[in-house]
Symmetry: C2
Subunit: 95 residues, 2 copies
């Protein structure tokens, strides 16, 4: 089991739209991904305004980095949440 930890810097003014889009993407896209286990939205950073944290549990590292990122589902995922990103998200994995 691997935990994906994603810090997203969100465009100013897009806060509410991002949270809505993330919720929609988590509900509609992730459950179809092979190796997807669980999604958690953790909210906004106290120390860094406009940074939002979410985590995703995957059955393996490759389920995320190869399976999901190489699939059409990733296109759908990014189409929903990507327009609200202020730069690339910071993503790491913990095992």
């Amino acid at each position: 089991m691997v935990l994906e930890v994603a810090h997203v810097t969100v465009l100013a003014g897009h806060e509410e739209a991002f949270v809505d889009a993330l919720s929609e993407a988590a509900d509609t896209v992730l459950p179809s991904a092979d190796g997807f286990v669980a999604f958690s939205a953790h909210g906004w950073c106290v120390e860094r305004p406009n940074v939002y944290l979410f985590t995703i549990q995957w059955a393996s590292l490759e389920a995320h980095t190869e399976g999901f990122r190489g699939s059409d589902l990733f296109t759908d995922w990014r189409a929903l949440i990507g327009p609200h990103f202020d730069g690339p998200p910071a993503v790491e994995h913990f095992a």
Copy 2:
């Protein structure tokens, strides 16, 4: 509710000792802290060797930053895990 997210860089060769100390500290120190809700050890970073992630849920930001950090419990906590730190931990809060 606030989530403390702590990334700890652990001294080389201290990996096992740190994990044991963190488990002991979580079991023996945290349950006595006012506002402590839950502790989770998430393991080692795939992308940054020797970086370990743990999270702690607190009833409020102040329960951690003022209550816990200002208490003798914090001295006990750091006495257990601090000897294995390679530099100060990176700690943020999400709400």
